[in-house]
Symmetry: C2
Subunit: 174 residues, 2 copies
DNA sequence: ACCTGAACACCGTTCAAGT
DNA sequence: ACCTGAACACCGTTCAAGT
């Protein structure tokens, strides 16, 4: 029996696991989601997950990649809007990751895979803001924007308060 | 035998546990520190800790209170310096909490005690910055400062890069 | 009041065994 | 190649028992 008889089936099963993990991670958070729950939701046993992912952290990375890709795919219409709208959009779009931001930071030291995703994420974020910033301050300014976006994700505020913060930030920083 | 024969001894034992927990939490992080390690460092068994604290989260709160009190006690000489110096000082002083910032955010949903400490912390931080800010923007501006401080704690940068970010922030926001 | 040994329920992960 | 049942080492927490 050949090794790769149904490569399609493997990808599909993997997707089912990622989809289940995504829903549970986003809704309940990483720590509160036991691998056995994810496995049950995907119709397998807990240890089967290890045939598709080396560990729970790599499964989180797969989920983060999906979430980020989804957010970016919806970003295009924003390309022409002012920076404040882009940041507002980013905060709303990334709010699905809200429960996971702290987990990513917390597990960075323990998991090279998560550390790597985190670095890549900030590179993408940096690239998106930097082009809109005065070249002289682009470096520190882009960091400030990233910190505020993360802060707004971690400390959910009302819509108007959020706008106030972003408007002030963009007004002063650009 | 009276119930409170040696109230002093109880406080001392409690302190030993907090001191051990503080060192381990700061050095290794909350998740990586098993209660049994703390207990061993304090010369007791793991379950004995539960006679002094209702759970691991409350022990973390006790540690956070110590760290914050220490930082504030060193803050006085800063009172007359410019805002940028104060923020720089805050980041350096709170860097002992670096490993715990994400834990506090992550466990806020699960632990009312941690949530409460977190709220109090931001009230203190807000009060310290707000007086230095133009009253019109004080609310959003103080949030931006808090977000940048947290961002610098979570994403350690070089000393000069850090200064660049803080200087730009203070220059623009005040 | 204070502390312990033993147990409980749960976790991520490993492994030998099946197909 | 893919999946499982059973086990492992570990965790926070509880509890009956000692002093």
């Amino acid at each position: 029996m050949p090794a790769n008889r149904r490569p399609r089936a493997r990808a599909e099963k993997r997707d089912e696991i990622v989809t289940a993990a995504r829903r549970l991670f986003v809704d309940d958070g990483y720590d509160a989601t036991a691998l056995s729950k994810i496995a049950a939701a995907a119709g397998v046993t807990a240890n089967t997950v290890y045939w598709y992912f080396p560990d729970k952290d790599h499964l989180l990375v797969a989920v983060l990649e999906e979430l980020l890709a989804d957010a970016l795919s919806r970003y295009e219409p924003m390309a022409q809007r002012p920076l404040a709208d882009k940041i507002m959009f980013a905060v709303q779009e990334l709010s699905a990751m809200r429960n996971l931001v702290d987990t990513v930071h917390a597990r960075r030291a323990a998991s090279p895979a998560i550390d790597q995703w985190h670095t890549g994420f900030h590179e993408v974020a940096d690239a998106l803001t930097r082009s809109e910033l005065p070249p002289d301050d682009a470096e520190p300014a882009s960091h400030i924007i990233a910190f505020v976006v993360e802060g707004l994700l971690t400390h959910p505020a009302g819509e108007t308060e959020q706008r106030e913060i972003i408007d002030l930030l963009v007004d002063r920083i650009t």
